[in-house]
């Protein structure tokens, strides 16, 4: 009979690692509630006189609702664009056509080039399209992402071929096969796409910084940078702002974490 190793050492390590990962989040939350100077010594581990008024300050002293609206619009556009274009591209890559391998190779090689290296051509294209300082201009580079195309490709390849053939025999067009057959069977890939695009778009800083020219078009990360540069001695409000920027992303991730992890695992094993 094989003796199983005790599980408590593994759990103890995981508890310690989780604690270390969560401490910065706790510190941000605690500082947002107390306004305690981050250089205060000795630091208070437990919040002293916590209150929520720093959040009220942030809401009224900067145009937070405007920044939030801009971020929501840009992120929604990026997510919709991602789902549309990545689905189409992922489905196309499951087909056999001349040059398919070259297309895949081109995609993979493009993933090696950092966005910062292509930012000037991206700016010139956006300018030529006349969408600088607009929601579409901010969302444009995130309307399709190569990683997500491969996540959809892996998910679509897991769908039995016979199912697609049966749908085609029943007279469904390619688009209807995607909408009626592929997407309902690829919920994990959709969730992964939504979460990844949300995180990338929500936290995007460099590209919005370049294409946005007016304060009323700024998104939350730019608002945070502006807040840092304009306000002084505002530790509590600054950390409250950080929490307010973080909360939507955390909420969406916590809601969809099961599908997110499943989608990434599918991509990892069948890509």
């Amino acid at each position: 009979m094989v003796r199983r190793a005790p599980s408590w050492p593994r759990h103890a390590i995981m508890v310690v690692v989780s604690f270390l990962m969560l401490v910065p989040f706790y510190w941000v939350l605690k500082t947002s509630l107390t306004g305690e100077n981050i250089y205060a010594y000795p630091p208070h581990v437990v919040p002293v006189d916590p209150h929520l008024f720093h959040y009220v300050d942030v809401w009224y002293l900067i145009p937070f609702p405007r920044y939030l609206l801009n971020s929501v619009i840009v992120t929604t556009m990026a997510i919709c664009g991602n789902l549309l274009f990545n689905t189409a591209a992922g489905y196309a890559l499951t087909k056999q056509f001349p040059g398919r391998r070259w297309v895949v190779l081109l995609f993979l090689s493009c993933m090696l080039i950092p966005f910062q290296a292509t930012i000037i051509p991206a700016y010139l294209i956006t300018s030529a399209l006349g969408v600088l300082n607009s929601y579409l201009g901010i969302a444009l580079p995130l309307l399709s992402t190569i990683i997500c195309i491969f996540i959809f490709k892996a998910s679509f390849e897991a769908v039995p071929r016979s199912l697609i053939d049966a749908a085609r025999v029943d007279g469904l067009s390619e688009w209807r096969i995607i909408v009626r057959i592929m997407l309902p069977l690829s919920k994990s890939a959709i969730a992964t796409n939504v979460i990844l695009t949300f995180i990338w778009s929500w936290n995007a800083f460099l590209w919005p910084l370049i294409v946005i020219r007016t304060p009323e078009m700024q998104t939350l990360p730019l608002g945070l940078a502006r807040f840092l540069s304009v306000m002084e001695d505002t530790t509590g409000a600054l950390f409250a702002f950080v929490v307010m920027v973080l909360v939507p992303g955390l909420t969406i991730f916590l809601m969809a974490q099961k599908e997110f992890i499943r989608g990434l695992a599918t991509g990892a094993t069948k890509g």
């Binding site: 209150h51 002293l61 909420t251 969809a256």
Partner: protein, 126 residues
């Protein structure tokens, strides 16, 4: 997935709960945003102080300035109206040189109707 399961799904429940919370909070704000700040001015013995001047200073990260002033009535009560602020300070002054400490006032939303604890005026030497 049946519609009952869809209604119980977290993708429906969580946004719905958040929407209800935001709606309820905005409804509460709509019912309590008259911009009225009122309270009393008393002396150290607890007696009301009529005719005292109460000044509201708007104070935040950007500026610190007098926003509005008013005078207490015969019962020592003062009342500010139309105050579109969420943070500031209150101070009471009397003609004979007494004054209160500046009281920090923080509200949950702009123009919240508020009743402030009594401001206590005292002489220069307490």
């Amino acid at each position: 997935m049946t519609w009952r399961r869809r209604l119980r799904h977290r993708f429906f429940i969580v946004p719905l709960a958040l929407a209800l919370l935001v709606g309820a909070w905005n409804l509460y704000i709509g019912l309590h945003d008259g911009g009225i700040i009122e309270g009393e001015v008393r002396d150290r013995a607890g007696a009301p102080v009529p005719g005292a001047t109460v000044i509201f200073f708007e104070r935040n990260f950007v500026y610190y300035q007098e926003k509005q002033r008013t005078t207490t009535d015969g019962t020592g009560t003062y009342r500010f109206t139309g105050m579109q602020v969420h943070v500031g300070q209150l101070e009471a002054r009397t003609d004979d040189g007494r004054h209160s400490e500046r009281r920090q006032l923080r509200l949950w939303f702009r123009a919240q109707d508020t009743e402030v604890a009594p401001l206590v005026v005292a002489g220069p030497r307490g």
